[in-house]
Symmetry: C3
Subunit: 323 residues, 3 copies
């Protein structure tokens, strides 16, 4: 039994790319395509979730991600509550469930959850009643599935729907990245031709090749050759102090995406980044702002993909008739 | 002249249970019954307060209470502003009135006020123009009338409308509790058969028997016998340091609601708590999550009761025709 | 080319009074007059900006100003996002543009910007795409144009549309006041008969007479004689420590608006203040609350003027057909 799907195989919660079949991922992208049109209209709003209550429950602060979910919810006409809950004041699992039970008792229809502990969104999904949907907005180092799907949507927009033809490289701190983990699962599920990770040995989980079926490179000069898609990861600067990394300057020297390194990729390769970018650290400004960069498109598609996931899981869990 | 009622005896502000006649309390519950249906619909929204501006003016932080008022207002289709104002930066009465005068000048229609000083909501109500309604969301140790009314609504749902048949026990820190004070006034006004308070001597006002007409017990083993409703109060842990209370462990030993103590009450007694609960301090988890607990129902009814109070006071003060 | 106007001379951004022609200022006041009616209706809402996304981007905290913009946007039926961004964490121009680029990518339609650095709103306006409008909600010591226009609107309401007949005095810390600067530009553009500034020498820019064409006075007893409008500025108490000013008490002695000083003005003079007022510092309570004070009216008109500016700049920049 897959917690994320209902008995007809439709999305019920959105917690993790791992475990979702290919047709669900494709369905998310197809639905996002429709909502993409909505956000380009003069009136960027559909009445689909009118009268529904969506609660952004953020135990880890993130204005940026919260904003995209809030906008997506408002454009679906839902009522949105933003709760920033510090984990210091509410740290025990029991208290977490009491908090959620209270929000459910207020007839909330959906929780968008971000938490610093891996597995929190799934834990919550196991305890909500049938009419409540849970969306994972990032849990520890585990998963960030809406980010992965907006990336897949962006790739499909540029490279078409046949992922089998594509070589995709993910560059940076793979070890600590929930984004990378979800991207790799999504790329594998969509049958991507070749998935490469390019990372310093200190920032790569030991079993990544076996566990995730990717090709591993330790130098961008090798790994970037002929790829169609480059996904740069954000450098979490707090890693610096942990002796896992040299200085920002050195990092840029060895790992930063420059024009020269980009030239190794396919001529029409696209450059992606989950944002916010550290200019001059993991990516050169010339590349970030260049013709091949689709970084801001990712942000745009993020709204449509989140609208899609919200509308789909609400339909499955609840009372809405159509997306 | 009752500040809370207009000249036709309808609710104008909602500041304190004391001073409100029985038929107003019953009217609040009847109106909440209608709104209860709204929150169970697919579209949990009525257009009753569309275009009205409701301002949550919270001088004392409370995400939980503020959230219920915000949801209630949104489900009535009002526009909601949340203002958290620290009392340290705005401490003088004059400044308080200036703040409110400014919000009034923006054509606000209702203030939902929480303040650490008793009497603040009434003070504000005395200074607003005729079209503005004031709802007390908790003032010092004085009153928390919406909490009391959601409790009455919950009792009526389970025990019927004849409060004369009921024995109700309130257990815990009566002295510092605005919730208890409002509950006792409401229970008295609704002609409850017997109202008991069960509290350590250190946490009981000296004149509670005379002033509020309740039966006083100092041991749960005596006070809980044959009651139909048990209302546990939240233990404010900061009282611990004040030497008014022993350790949490000892408190639970003497005062905590366990299965054994619950068995002393009537077999169909219900267990209530204003939340958030301290598991293992004032209440055992087995009881909090047990069949007789209606704690989460209280949260649900809290939305409907707040919708009722908002709609009723707005109708009286303003331009709306019907609830 | 005027950044603030489109090629048909209509408002496109609202950044600074300086540079706007008289007919635009009059148009803002005429449009605000219409919205003034809306805020007095039972349903204080028009569907003009439904489905539009307005982002309050506040790098400098101001609950009060943010609230008026939020209310104005909601009464135009727009979706509103509030972002408080501390300048300490996002200090570089590059990062500022990245933040804005991300918000644009989410299909935001308007930025309402407050920043402690002069010129920030204009800087942003130079970098947004054609469909995005920028409103300056205060930038450094430079400009606060919506405040100035709500002041002009208030004056017109009381004194009629012929500003040529009027003597207007602005009293207080002219040097550090973006409000004063914008007011002087607006009064000059509206061809006000005489604009006076009354300020201590330490709080007056050296070239104010030449640069802004005002009459300078150093004593209220001289400057207030026969004026029709008195605008008191707020005393920023942090100036005290800078040795630019004596104590609050002394300030009131020399500069505070008392009944006696008010009596020097025309008998029907009005008293204005951008708020929040410091009672007993720059203004006596008797005057602030007196018959000639229009301070709270200014707050009321602030909503209508902000609705006007938002509606006008959105119409010009975008897809709306009519205001």
């Amino acid at each position: 039994m897959n917690l994320q799907l209902d008995d007809q195989g439709r999305l019920r919660h959105f917690l993790d790319i791992a475990g979702l079949p290919r047709d669900v991922l494709i369905n998310i992208m197809d639905t996002a395509e429709k909502f993409s049109g909505v956000t380009e209209q003069a009136v960027k709003k559909v009445p689909l979730l009118r009268g529904k209550t969506i609660v952004n429950v953020f135990f880890e602060n993130s204005t940026r991600t919260r904003t995209t979910f809030e906008l997506a919810a408002k454009r679906l006409s839902a009522d949105v509550l933003n709760l920033n809950i510090s984990t210091s004041s509410a740290s025990k699992g029991e208290t977490l469930l009491d908090t959620l039970a209270n929000l459910q008792a207020m007839h909330s229809d959906m929780f968008v959850v971000r938490h610093e502990d891996s597995g929190t969104a799934e834990f919550i999904a196991r305890h909500v009643p049938p009419h409540v949907a849970v969306i994972n907005a990032g849990d520890g180092r585990h998963a960030h599935p809406t980010q992965a799907m907006l990336d897949m949507f962006t790739i499909r927009r540029h490279k078409g729907s046949d992922f089998g033809r594509l070589r995709v490289a993910i560059v940076g701190d793979i070890m600590h990245s929930r984004v990378a983990r979800s991207q790799i699962h999504a790329l594998n599920t969509l049958l991507t031709g070749e998935v490469r990770v390019i990372a310093p040995r200190t920032l790569l989980p030991g079993n990544v090749r076996e566990a995730l079926g990717v090709h591993v490179f330790h130098r961008p000069e090798e790994g970037l050759r002929d790829v169609d898609v480059i996904i740069m990861l954000r450098l979490q600067k707090e890693r610096m102090s942990g002796a896992l990394l040299p200085s920002e300057h050195e990092y840029f020297q060895y790992w930063g995406l420059t024009q020269e390194r980009l030239a190794l990729a396919a001529p029409d390769a696209i450059v992606m980044h989950p944002g916010p970018i550290n200019r001059g650290v993991e990516i050169d400004s010339v590349v970030a702002d260049g013709d091949q960069s689709v970084i801001l498109e990712q942000v745009t598609h993020g709204i449509a993909v989140r609208m899609a996931v919200m509308a789909m899981s609400m339909r499955s869990s609840g009372t809405e008739g159509a997306a």
